[in-house]
Structure formats: C-alpha cells, structure tokens
Amino acid sequence: MAYLDHAATTPMLPEAVEALTAQLSVTGNASSLHAAGRRARRTVEEARETLAEALGARPSEVVFTSGGTEADNLAVKGLYWARRDADPARTRVLASPVEHHAVLDAVHWLGEHEGATVEYLPVDSYGRVHPDVLREAIARNPDDVALATVMWANNEIGTVMAVRELADVTAEFGIPLHADAVQAFGQVPVDFTASGLAAMTVSGHKIGGPYGIGALLLGREYTPVPVLHGGGQERHVRSGTLDVPAIASFAVAGRLAAEQREWFAREIGALRDDLVDAVRAAVPDAILGGDPATGGRLPANAHFTFPGCEGDSLLLLLDAQGIECSTGSACTAGVAQPSHVLLATGADPDLARGTLRFSLGHTSTEADVEAVAKAIGPAVERARTAGLT
C-alpha cells in the first residue's frame, strides 16, 4: 500500500493516540466547578497553551471547534454578521476563488441568504492572490467590505499565499482577514501573531491528531456572531461541551507539527521532489500544478495534470495497485467535477478533468515514491486509451 492522500487525512501520531486514549477514561466537564471539572479544565487549558505556542498565538486566541469546516464557517459567517451589525454598509466579502468548499460555500451562502456581495479575487496561474489585487478590490470602496478570506496554502495544488503581505493590505483599511491554514500548519511556518490575520483555521486530523477537532485562531479584538448558540464556552463564540480527549490529543499533534516542521519540509519535501521527478520521467507531458518553486508550495504536495486522461480513470487504475491518491477536486455525489481551483487558474476545462494530487505525510517512504514511479506511466497510457467520456 502506498498511501499518498495525507492532505485528505494523515495517520494519527502515536503520541496523539496515547494522549487521546489516556483522556477517554477520565470523567469531567471542563465547565463544571468541582474537582473533576477542574481537572478537565486544566487539561483543556494546557492544551490551549500548547497549541497557542505552536501557532504563535496567545492562549486566549485559540477557539476550539469541531474541525476546519466549522472554524471556517464561524470565521466567515460570524465576522460577516458582526461587521455588518456594526455598520450595515459592510456587505462586501472578498474571497479567493481557490478556497476550500468550507469557505467557498459559506461565502456563497452569505450571498444567497444574507445580502452579501461576494467578490472573487483574481489569482495568477499558480492560484495565488496578489496583494495589489486585494488592494485594488478594497480601495474601490473600503467602507463596504465586511471581511476578506484567502487560504494560507491551497489544498489541491499546494500553492502558498503571501499571507503577511495580504494582511498588511487589509490592515491599512482596518478590514479583518481570515485564512484557512488547515494545509499549511506543520508544513510551512505559521505564526498567527506575526501574520497579522484576524482569524485563522486549523484542523486536528490533517496534522496527526484526531478527527472532529479543530480551532479558530481569533484575534482578541474580534467577536464574531456565533454559529452555535448555547452554554457560552470559548469566549461565547462557540458553545458546546469541550471534547477534552480530542483537545488534549490535538495539542500534542500540534506541538509535534511545529517541532518537526523543518524536518518535515526537508525530508518529506525531498521525497516529494523525487516523486515529481519520477512522474515527469515516466510521463514527460505531465503538467505540475501550482507554484513550482520550493518556497512557493507545500513541501508534501505534488499535483499533476495528465492531458488526455480522466482523473477518475487514473485513480481507479492506481487504486487497483494499492496506490491511494486523489483527483484533488471535490465530488458531487461521487462524480468528480472539473476542479474549481484549476479553472480559477485559467486551466482548460478538459485538462482540468485529468488531475491527480499526491500528498505525502509523516509516514511516507521511498517505497511509496517507487510504487508511483513504476505504476504511473502504464496507468496514464491506459487511461489515455479510455479517453475522456
């Protein structure tokens, strides 16, 4: 088996498993006042401090959520509502067109149901939003912008955005900028305070932690309108009993992600480079997606377009040989759609159907790369015979 879909989810780290299982048998609601509650709260707050340190944030800026999707929704909808409540003129939402669906569909919903005017910021052929593009969009009318949201690194093609420069632009106009950093965390330096972001999304299971846990890093001056109302946990912006075991485990994974980031970028990045070389050697006309420069893309991402192939066919052929990867694009009822990310970068719609994303992770080995090197040539040849239906 060659598991090369770590961007979908990556195996839990043994230390994170240990932290999770150790807490599962401990009783305590972190909101309770008695000893069991205090014990649980201590675990949660220590985890909060650990994650804050790993992400260059203050502990009070860590808001635990059920995962990346919820954090994205809270940031986008919550900040929109709060900013519009403060000034009804603020109804414009600026978003990159290459966002994950958790952001893309949330802003779309705001447009359909909450009177938002959604404006998608043009990206270059690597899928990157340029700061001057953002500046131009805001400057047209700075007063009507509710928020901007641009992901830190793209989940499909791996392009890393110039987050600090984008945040400098929004700061000039006093507009909050949110970034989905789900793919960036553990792969590129992520420092919340230094970034200048108002809000930032991270997720547990993408960094070796458990499913169902994530966090929104939220500047202390921001109070988004909650998506979930209830007991008032997490600064009153995210109610719900805290998942102590998941939080403890997430923190362990987060600490390790930060500690091992340089090793990861170096070692896994080298493996990724080998994989890219191997694919190009086997299929000379394969097109590498995203920014080819090492500093411009996630070290674990390799995204290819194979002209004349359907990504679906390639996926089936590789799956049959124990190579697990993704077409990279979202599905509708299991039907792969041409990737909105590639289309936004100006790719030809037919080409955009023939994509594969290989994403490496902490368990990747040379054997995984060798398996791809061996299989990809014949698979592409065969998929080309099957053609585009």
Partner: protein, 375 residues
C-alpha cells in the same frame, strides 16, 4: 452459477450498480464466483435529485449511495462514473427525436446498446477490465467453438433478453449476467440480498423511464417539443377532434384522445397512425390496428446474419408475448410477415427474433402493413 462465471480464469469485472437489488446481487454473485469485481454507478442525470420519489426513476444521489453501500458490503472497490452527457446525447435526445418523428422508441434498449455495452464497456475494456456485469435476467451460453449465444433467462417471467437483443457478438463476449439462470421470484432475490447483508433488499423496484422521474412522458415531451395543435381524424379523413402535439401519441393508444363525439358503431377508437409532417393523428376501430407484416431497419445480429428466409418467434415489446413470423433480410432491411395478424405495432419499437430461447437478432420497426385496407 452462470455459464460464463464457471470459466476457470477469474475475470476483471466491472459491475454496473444502479443502486437496485438486482444489480447488487449480480455483483455479489460475480464476486463470489471468484472474479475480481469493481462496482461502478453510472451518473446519468445532469441534475440528480437527492432522493427517490416512490418507485420511479433512478440515478438519484440516494441511488448512488445505495450502490456504494452495497459495494462496501460485498467488499469491492466502487466508483461513480459520469456518463450524463453521453446518456443525454445518445438516449434522451434520441428518445425525443423519435417521438417527434411519430415513432415510439424504447430507451432501455438504446441505453444497453449505446451506454452500458458501448460507452461503459469501451471504457472498461480500455482500463483493463474483461467484462461488464449487470443485473439483467438473460443468459450467455458459450459454445465449444468459443462463440456466444444470448438466451432468454431460465425464468421466462423475469426474462429481459428483449432489451439486450441489440447486443452483437463483441458486446456479448464481454457481458456477464449472473442472474440469468435463476428461476426465482423477486422475493427470493430480495431474500438473497438480505442474506448477503445488502440493505437494498427492501428497496422498491424501479419502473418506467428512468429520466422521466414523475412518469409523465407526455408532459416531458410537451416540455421539450412545445405544444402544436393539430387534428385528430378518422379513417375517412374527417376531423373529429384536436390534440396538442402528434408526438404525444403511440400507435394503439386508446386513453387520452379526448374526442367529443362517439364513433358511429359506439366502439372505442385507437390511434392508428401518427403523421408528424401534417401533425395529424388518425384514429379508428381496434380491428384496423391489425398488422400482417412489417419492415424493420438497422438490424443487429447475435452471431452471423441469417441468409435467406427463415421462421422465428418474435417479441415486439418489452413485456410482450411471442408471435410466429417469417423474416428475411432484403437489402439490409428486415422484412417480416406474421403468421397471424398482430395488433398495435408501433414504429420505433424493436422487434427481437428468437430461435427457441436463443436471441437471433433485433431491428427497429420502420413501417407496418395493415391486415385490413386502412390508412
């Protein structure tokens, strides 16, 4: 076990899984027979509905999930392939064009010919599969010389060989029908599904035309072709009513004519002829529907084309009975004479010829010869 699945070499099989019970059991049987089976659900609708409504239609997202769940239980890989565009071009548009031309098409045959055993099969073969497996009730028998014959299912009541009559040798060589030798009731297939842990065991059967989810074919056609008022005339040519589009009628149709004045003899009137050119529908008594022969075009043969005249049994509708015919291929068209007159034969439908249980071939009915002097 079917003849094909007894072959010693395990095949790489692509099982078309609609989300219904038959195709799920077929895939399970193929896997159990030792084949290397991969399930695939065909997304045929460009805008699938979320849930099934009643027993009609298919291709909803729920059907796709049911198929996936069945594949998971069987323990086979599963994918969804988007053939919506091919289906629209080859089946739906053809269906509309046929009605527009005054004929009555069978979209299921068309789908088997153009989608399941063409688009899907071609893609499967290109990707290295040996065969496509479906839940049809029909049998493929392999002769000693390696040639194949398509036969009616062991259970005549369930037989679906009619809708497979369009398959040629090459297509048959790559077809697997694991349900074909089952003499069974639907309840028994459901019981087998239950035993295999397949949740689709209790799912209602699909009926009618899958891409017309509400079953309203006339409404579907009117929506696509627009209304065009025209005359309903009797056999003498007298106008006795009006209609909103000749395309909405089928030869032999009795209901929905909405003719105010009763026939002179007081007997019901049937659609005898549809003329799209002058948008006229001709009606008359049942006896005028009797057909003594027909000409059919685009013949397809399961095996070598027959030479010279021959006698066969023929089936003229998906659930129709058998009728004795003499048939001969003349200049690429099939000329058919019925031993006894047959009532209500609609151009556009397929005639499938049988020799006993063996499917000889099929053709599309183009014109009919009325037994009585008629329109």
């Amino acid at each position: 076990m079917t003849e094909t699945s007894q072959r010693p070499r395990p095949l790489r099989v692509l099982a078309a899984m609609s989300g219904g019970v038959d195709s799920a059991v077929a895939a399970a049987r193929a896997a159990e027979a030792g084949h290397d089976v991969t399930g695939v659900h065909l997304a045929l609708s460009a805008n699938p509905q979320s849930f099934r409504t009643g027993a009609r239609g298919c291709c909803t997202i729920e059907d796709s999930r049911d198929a996936r769940r069945a594949a998971d239980v069987i323990g086979i890989p599963f994918y969804v392939w988007d053939l919506a565009e091919r289906f629209r071009e080859d089946v739906v548009e053809d269906f509309i064009a046929e009605y527009e031309a005054g004929r009555t098409p069978n979209p299921c045959l068309r789908c088997n010919e153009k989608i399941k055993f063409a688009a899907l099969l071609d893609k499967a073969l290109a990707l290295g599969f040996d065969a496509v497996c479906t839940g049809h009730y029909a049998q493929v028998i392999v002769n000693e010389d390696g040639t194949r014959e398509l036969h009616r299912a062991s259970d005549m009541a369930k037989d679906q060989s009619y809708v497979l009559g369009v398959l040629d040798d090459r297509q048959l060589a790559h077809a697997l029908f694991p349900l074909g030798d089952t003499v069974t009731t639907k309840d028994e297939i459901r019981a087998e599904a239950e035993l295999r842990g397949l949740a689709v065991a209790k799912k209602p059967d699909s009926h009618d035309i899958c891409f017309i989810a509400d079953g309203d074919t006339q409404g579907f056609l009117a929506n696509r072709l627009g209304k065009a008022e025209g005359d309903i005339v009797d056999e003498s040519g007298s106008v006795i009513g009006s209609h909103e589009g000749a395309f909405g009628f089928t030869i032999g149709q009795r209901k929905g004519l909405r003719i105010g004045t009763p026939a002179a003899d007081g007997k019901p009137r049937y659609v005898l002829d549809i003329s799209p050119v002058n948008n006229t529908v001709t009606v008359g008594p049942a006896a005028s529907l009797d057909v003594s022969g027909l000409t059919a075009i685009k013949p397809r043969w399961c095996g070598a084309a027959p030479t010279g005249p021959g006698t066969y049994t023929a089936q003229l509708r998906a659930h129709g009975g058998e009728t004795q015919v003499a048939a001969e291929l003349v200049d690429g068209e099939l000329e058919v004479t019925f031993t006894e007159p047959v009532r209500g034969v609609a151009p556009g439908q397929a005639i499938v010829l049988y020799d006993g249980t063996r499917v000889v071939g099929s053709a599309t009915i183009a014109t009919t010869t009325r037994a009585t002097a008629s329109v």
